[in-house]
C-alpha cells in the first residue's frame, strides 16, 4: 500500500504542498485553510501533517512531548480533525477533510510540488 513518508528535518516550511492540495481539490482556487495537508510550526521546526480520520469528540488525553529542552504540543502533530483544533475542517460547510492521494498518479500533488524531499511516496 502506498504511503506518504514525512521527513520533518527536510521541511523548509514553504507551504507549497498546501497550495498544491487546495488547487487540486477546489476548482481554480487556492486556500491553505481548505487543504488536506498543513504545515505546523512548533518552536523552530516545521511539521507537515496530513489529514487522517476524524473524530467527533475531543480526545481526553492531551499530551506533550519533551525533546531536549523544548516541550512540544502533541495536538499539533495529530492527524485527526477533532473539535479541539480548527484544522482539516472545511470552514464553509463544516465537513471534515481527509487526504485522498489526489493528483496525477503515482505521486500525489503535494509530493510532486515538495522540492526538498520532505514528502515522499513509499510502497510497503
Amino acid at each position: 500500500m502506498p504511503r506518504i513518508k514525512i521527513d520533518h528535518a527536510k521541511c523548509t516550511g514553504c507551504r507549497h504542498c498546501e497550495a498544491a492540495c487546495s488547487l487540486n481539490h477546489v476548482v481554480n482556487t487556492v486556500n491553505p485553510r481548505r487543504s488536506r495537508i498543513r504545515v505546523m510550526r512548533d518552536g523552530n521546526r516545521y511539521y507537515p501533517v496530513i489529514a487522517g480520520p476524524f473524530v467527533d469528540a475531543a480526545c481526553t488525553s492531551k499530551q506533550f512531548i519533551v525533546i531536549g529542552d523544548q516541550t512540544y504540543d502533541m495536538c499539533a502533530f495529530c492527524r485527526a480533525s477533532c473539535p479541539q483544533k480548527p484544522y482539516f475542517i472545511e470552514a464553509e460547510t463544516g465537513i471534515p477533510l481527509k487526504c485522498d492521494f489526489c493528483g496525477i498518479p503515482p505521486s500525489p500533488s503535494c509530493v510532486r510540488w515538495c522540492n526538498t524531499g520532505a514528502l515522499e511516496l513509499v510502497e510497503d
Binding site: T12, C14, N28, T29, V30, K85, R112
Partner: protein
C-alpha cells in the same frame, strides 16, 4: 478576479478609522500590482516634497497578483514610502509568509496614513481589523514582539497561523538606518522605512485570514509549475548552490573576480582564508527556510552551534557578509552572524549599518576622530566593538549614539563627505563598481539607491547564466542594465522573487503568469510595464529633488584605481556609459523622461 483579491485597506492612524476600498482595474492592468501599483498610488497621493517623518507620509504594503497562488517563489510583498535616509522613494521587498498571508486576509494592499498618538499594532485577523494598544511591545526586539503578540492572542491555533512585520528599537528611535523585520528574523531590506513606521507610532502589523484566491486556468497552472520546478532542479545554481548555502555562495566567486570590497572599498587584497562555502559549513548548522511556495529555500537558519545564537539567528547572506563583514575588515563568520542577527533583532538594515560603520572606521583611520572621543575602539577588523556599537546605536544609548545617523550624515559632520561610499544617501551593496561595470551603472542610476536587488546584472556579468559577459567590459552594459532593471520591476510587481532568474529565463515565467491571471501577456508587454514603473519612480524622485548629478558614484571610483587583485588598475566608466543609458531609456541629457517616451508608455496624454 484572478490572482488579485481586488480590495485595499486604508487605515488612518490619526483618528483610528479604517475603510475598505476597491482597486482600480485600469491601474491593475497598467501596473500589475505589488511594487508597480504601490508606487502609482503613492505618487498620486503623496507630495514628493513632504518630510518623510511627518504624518502626511504614507506607508503602503502591497502584494503582487501571483503572491499566495502557489506560483513558484510568489511570496514577495513590497513596502513603499518616502525614505527617511535618502529622501526619495523607498521600496523594500518583504519575503517570507507575510505577503501571502495578507492576500489570505483579504487584501492586496494596505495603506497606512497619519500618525497615532500612542504606540499601536494593526491587527488584521479573520476579517477583524483593529488597532491594538502597543505600549507593552514598545522597546522590545522584533522577535520578542512577535512572541508576546502571539501569546496575547490567547489561542495557540490562531497564533500558529499569524504572521507579523514589526520594527525594532531602532525604528522606534527614528534611526535612519532602521528597516522592518518580518517572520521573526527576515530583514525587509530597505533603509529608511523603519523610521517612517516608527514616526507613525505603529509597532507592527499582524495578518491572518481565510480568503480564497482564484486562478484562471488551474489545470494548466499546475502543469506549468511542474515544468518550472523541473527546470529549477536542472539548473546548478538554483538546485545546488542557492539551496545549500543561500546567497552566501556568491562570496567566494565575487572574491575571485575582485568584486568583493574590503575596508570601505579601498582594497580587495589580503587573501582571506575564512571565506567561501566551506567556512560557512563549519561555522553554522544550516537549515533551509522557505518563503511561501519557494522550491529553493535560500534562507538559511542557523541551528545552534554557537551559544550566542540560541537557534534564533539567520545565517548571514551575501549582503550581510559583504557589508557588515569584509567591508569593515571583519572576516570572522561567527562574528558576522552575530551582527546580522543583532541587526534583525534591533530592526536595522544590514547594508546601511555596514556602510555606516565602514565610514566611521575610515574616519578613525584618517584621524578625523579618535577612538577616545567616540569612547569606543571602533576600527577596521575590530568585531567586538562593532557588535557593541550596533547595540548602542539602535537604542541611542551611550556616546556612540551619534554614530547612527547614516554614513552620509556622519562623513559630512566631519567635513569629509568624499569617504562615504554611497549614492543618493544610501550605502553601496557589496559589489565594487570598478570591477563590475554594469553593476556600477545600475548603482548610479537606480531609483532606490545602490542596491543589486533592483537590477540583477551580476547574473550575466559574474555568474554568466544567460550571457557570457566580461565584468570589466563597458560595451553593451547600458542595455543590459536597462533590461535587468525593467525585469526586476515586473517581477516585483507580480510578487515574484528575482533569484530564480539564476536558473530560469524571464520568458519561462510568461505561461505561469497568463494561466494564473487569465491574460495574454507576451514578454515584451510585461517589460514595457516594467519600463513604465521605472519611469514613474524616476519622475517622483526628480520631483523630490534628485537630478542627473545624483546619477553618479563616489569620486573614489573614478580617481583611485583598484590597488591589487584580479581587477587591478581599473576605474569606473559610469560617466562614459551614462549618455547611452539615458538614450536607451528615452530620457533627455539631464536624465529627465522625455514627452515622447511618456506618451509611448501611456503616462501622459498626447
Amino acid at each position: 478576479m484572478n490572482g488579485w483579491i481586488g480590495r485595499c485597506l486604508r487605515v488612518n492612524l490619526t483618528d483610528g478609522k479604517h475603510r475598505i476600498e476597491k482597486l482600480d482595474t485600469d491601474a491593475l492592468e497598467k501596473y500589475l500590482g505589488g511594487r508597480g501599483l504601490g508606487v502609482k498610488v503613492f505618487a498620486d497621493e503623496v507630495d514628493p516634497n513632504i518630510d518623510p517623518l511627518s504624518p502626511e507620509n504614507k506607508l503602503i504594503f502591497c502584494s503582487g497578483p501571483l503572491v499566495g497562488t502557489g506560483a513558484i517563489t510568489g511570496a514577495s510583498c513590497n513596502v513603499i514610502t518616502k525614505s527617511s535616509l535618502s529622501g526619495g522613494l523607498a521600496c523594500a521587498k518583504m519575503r517570507g509568509h507575510f505577503g501571502a498571508e495578507l492576500k489570505f486576509a483579504g487584501f492586496d494592499m494596505v495603506i497606512i496614513e497619519g500618525q497615532s498618538e500612542s504606540p499601536v499594532i494593526l491587527s488584521i485577523i479573520d476579517d477583524k481589523v483593529k488597532l491594538v494598544p502597543g505600549l507593552e511591545y514598545w522597546g522590545r526586539s522584533t522577535a520578542e514582539t512577535e512572541e508576546l503578540f502571539k501569546k496575547n492572542l490567547g489561542d495557540p491555533w490562531i497564533a500558529r497561523e499569524t504572521y507579523l512585520v514589526s520594527i525594532g528599537p531602532a525604528g522606534e528611535k527614528l534611526l535612519p538606518l532602521a528597516n522592518l523585520v518580518n517572520d521573526r528574523f527576515l530583514s525587509v531590506g530597505g533603509a529608511g522605512i523603519g523610521a517612517v513606521m516608527g514616526a507613525k507610532n505603529l509597532k507592527a502589523i499582524a495578518v491572518k485570514g481565510q480568503h480564497s484566491l482564484q486562478v484562471a486556468d488551474g489545470s494548466r497552472f499546475v502543469q506549468v509549475i511542474n515544468t518550472l520546478i523541473n527546470k529549477l532542479n536542472s539548473a546548478p545554481l538554483t538546485s545546488q548552490s542557492m539551496s545549500q548555502w543561500g546567497t552566501a555562495f556568491l562570496v567566494g566567486l565575487s572574491y575571485q573576480k575582485g568584486i568583493l570590497p574590503r575596508n570601505n572599498f579601498r582594497s580587495t587584497s589580503q587573501p582571506l582564508k575564512n571565506i567561501g562555502t566551506e567556512a560557512l559549513n563549519s561555522a553554522f548548522a544550516l537549515r533551509g527556510r522557505g518563503c511561501f511556495a519557494c522550491p529553493i529555500a535560500c534562507i538559511k537558519k542557523a541551528d545552534v552551534k554557537y551559544s550566542a545564537f540560541e537557534g534564533k539567528g539567520m545565517v548571514p547572506t551575501y549582503l550581510a557578509i559583504g557589508t557588515l563583514g569584509f567591508n569593515c575588515g571583519i572576516s570572522d563568520l561567527s562574528a558576522i552572524g552575530i551582527m546580522s542577527m543583532l541587526c534583525g533583532e534591533m530592526g536595522l538594515d544590514p547594508v546601511a549599518t555596514g556602510g555606516n560603520f565602514a565610514t566611521v572606521m575610515e574616519l578613525v583611520e584618517k584621524k578625523a576622530v579618535t577612538p577616545e572621543e567616540l569612547k569606543i575602539d571602533i576600527s577596521f577588523g575590530n568585531a567586538d566593538s562593532m557588535i557593541e556599537a550596533i547595540r548602542l546605536i539602535s537604542t541611542k544609548k551611550g556616546y556612540a549614539r551619534r554614530l547612527g545617523q547614516g554614513g552620509m550624515a556622519i562623513s559630512e559632520s566631519f567635513n569629509m563627505p568624499e569617504i562615504f561610499m554611497g549614492v543618493k544617501g544610501l550605502s553601496l551593496a557589496p559589489f565594487d563598481p570598478r570591477a563590475i561595470q554594469g553593476m556600477g551603472l545600475h548603482f548610479a542610476t537606480c531609483n532606490y539607491g545602490p542596491h543589486h536587488l533592483y537590477g540583477y546584472t551580476f547574473i550575466d556579468e559574474l555568474l554568466n547564466v544567460h550571457e557570457n559577459l566580461d565584468p570589466l567590459e563597458t560595451q553593451g552594459k547600458a542595455s543590459l542594465v536597462k533590461r535587468h532593471q525593467d525585469t526586476s520591476a515586473v517581477m516585483d510587481s507580480l510578487g515574484l522573487c528575482n533569484w530564480p532568474l539564476m536558473g530560469l529565463k524571464f520568458n519561462n515565467y510568461i505561461p505561469m503568469v497568463n494561466s494564473c491571471l487569465g491574460t495574454n501577456y507576451k514578454a515584451d508587454d510585461l517589460l514595457s510595464i516594467g519600463e513604465r514603473i521605472w519611469n514613474i519612480e524616476r519622475i517622483f524622485n526628480m520631483k523630490a529633488g534628485f537630478n542627473t548629478n545624483h546619477d553618479t558614484l563616489p569620486e573614489r571610483f573614478f580617481k583611485e584605481p583598484v590597488p591589487n587583485g584580479p581587477a587591478e588598475g581599473q576605474i569606473s566608466h559610469v560617466r562614459e556609459m551614462l549618455p547611452e543609458y539615458y538614450q536607451l531609456r528615452g530620457w533627455g541629457e539631464q536624465g529627465e523622461p522625455l514627452r515622447e517616451k511618456l506618451q509611448a508608455l501611456g503616462l501622459e496624454e498626447s
